[in-house]
Subunit: 339 residues, 2 copies
């Protein structure tokens, strides 16, 4: 049954209408033994070992797009931030800021897709908050998710890139730029290919298989805002090592490439929501690639370059035409509100 | 040195300008060994025992008000949600959604007061996120904070009110309604008393002293949206017990009372940001009150009523004029954006 009507200011002010919304929508969909107690804080089981803790705000425009919506994006983004830190994602919080007048049926669709994505990723949404602001004071809906995961000791170094060495391989789990170009196409009604679809997905399942299936992973990062280039430039800066990537090996969908060329975007800078960049010791590279390709989220995975002794702290692209080009981190970006 | 200029869309898009903002503003003020690594997730030490996890979005209008600002409010709100759950607050995340054009100097003031409040409350801000939306798509700034705390086993039951019994006393740590009336006065430029000031404060220090100083605390909750009435009605509903409170014992500032009378608000329904309602076994009531009164945040604490066998699930007010009145949870509330 679809919910009717629109969000009113009263839905966010701590009274009976908010309690009904919490019960009928949030509890009904996110239900688990932790959220059910509706206390100020969720009280969760602890585990020996380290805790990974992350947060992200989502303001994507449009709220619904091919391949997902703001709710799916929020769950996947937070799950992926935990997973690339070497953590097993366990618990999420969700905070809604909603514009008065937002259709309840749209909120329901968003909440249902958050619940479904959380279930697939095996995380529990355990606590939350809802605020409503008057019409015109926010743009439809903003969602902030935070997440907690458990880090086993052997994977603690991954987010710090401490084990990255010259000669290591650089891999990506598939085509880049899909999310950013899909959002732009949807927002501006550009009518580019209808096959454009966001890559928005939870990657913790694939990442777990990779970590358990092979040693040698020295670094992982999800390539969201700033794209592939952002991650690699940051890695080069952090490690002081060089990175060399080969344009011909970087998977880009034909329709994304075409749209980028026409509009003047560089796919290396375009945001993804289901892509990780990882660095692996050379002798394990093939094994890891194999594991990735077997996973639904890694079918078009590729080895795209390597870590070098030379050109320290910089990223070099070998172009398909045989040239060489330095890759920079963009100063800003052309695409606001892609996540 | 004050920062100049305004927030631009580029400050939120994953590029160099965002990196500079993170370094010059967030790292400079929140600095600690966990946030410094700037990884996707903060990697934190675990502890045996349960974890408390909470989140809250803050959309208060105006952003600056007597007694605080949206940043101080966010830190205190999250710290208090953890503390009333019987947890020691440890780590916070912070997610900013900022409207293009927001003055950087205002953001700096907000960030500095978050840092200062976190320091006082002995919590670390360990991870964060910044999104910028175009002018007109949000109202100045929204902040979502999440928090993690550690719950010692003996305090696990507090947020569930499992130990609340008929005859227990109901206490509050001081005057109610200060925050809500201050915000309304500031927002509408009503020019009521200039002595109106928000009670926004971190209460974890006081709560810790109470828990350590006396047994017998069966329940605690911060009385934010929905006010004192909201907390008591929820407690009565949850436990199935009755609650009786005495109007003459409930501390209300003269200026708050006056403003409520003139504008038709009930102070019992007005939001607080530094007030907790607690229930304690009768024989420990005086001892706990003593501890509260010694703390800066509890100087005007009072015993305001008791838990009863009768009128199950309902809250009864004995008025100063000798009458009796049922207290209801408000359907909505008259005051949007008070937190």
């Amino acid at each position: 049954m679809k919910m009717n009507g629109n969000i009113l200011l009263h839905h966010g002010s701590g009274g009976l209408m908010m309690q009904n919304l919490i019960h009928d929508l949030f509890l009904a969909n996110f239900d688990n033994r932790f959220i059910r107690s509706l206390t100020d804080s969720a009280i969760l089981p602890g585990k020996p070992g380290r805790i990974a803790f992350t947060t992200d705000g989502f303001v994507v425009d449009p709220v619904f797009f091919p391949g997902g919506n703001i709710g799916k994006l929020a769950v996947c983004g937070t799950v992926n931030d935990l997973a690339v830190s070497g953590a097993v994602p366990l618990f999420l919080s969700v905070s809604f800021i909603i514009e008065e007048g937002f259709p309840l049926s749209d909120l329901e669709t968003i909440v249902k897709s958050m619940a479904s994505e959380a279930k697939k990723a095996r995380v529990l949404i355990v606590t939350g908050d809802t605020k409503v602001v008057p019409k015109g004071k926010a743009d439809k809906i903003f969602i902030t998710t935070s997440g907690i995961g458990h880090v086993e000791q052997e994977y603690e170094g991954i987010s710090h890139a401490r084990k990255v060495r010259p000669g290591d391989l650089v891999l990506v789990n598939g085509t880049i730029g899909d999310h950013g170009m899909t959002i732009l196409n949807a927002r501006e009604s550009l009518r580019f290919s209808s096959r454009l679809e966001s890559d928005c997905a939870c990657l913790n399942g694939m990442i777990r298989k990779m970590l358990k299936g092979s040693p040698g992973i020295g670094f992982m990062r999800d390539a969201t805002r700033g794209g592939l280039a952002g991650v690699l430039c940051e890695l080069a800066g952090k490690t002081g090592l060089g990175i060399e990537i080969n344009e011909e090996n970087i998977p880009v969908r034909e329709e994304v490439n075409g749209m980028c060329e026409l509009l003047g975007f560089d796919p290396l800078h375009v945001a993804n929501e289901g892509k990780i960049i990882l660095v692996a010791a050379e002798r394990y590279g093939k094994k890891i690639l194999e594991i990735m390709k077997k996973d639904k989220q890694g079918k078009t995975s590729a080895i795209i370059g390597k870590i070098t002794e030379g050109h320290k702290g910089k990223v070099l692209l070998n172009t398909t035409s045989g040239g060489k080009r330095w890759i920079d981190i963009p100063t800003g970006e052309q695409l606001p509100r892609i996540c």
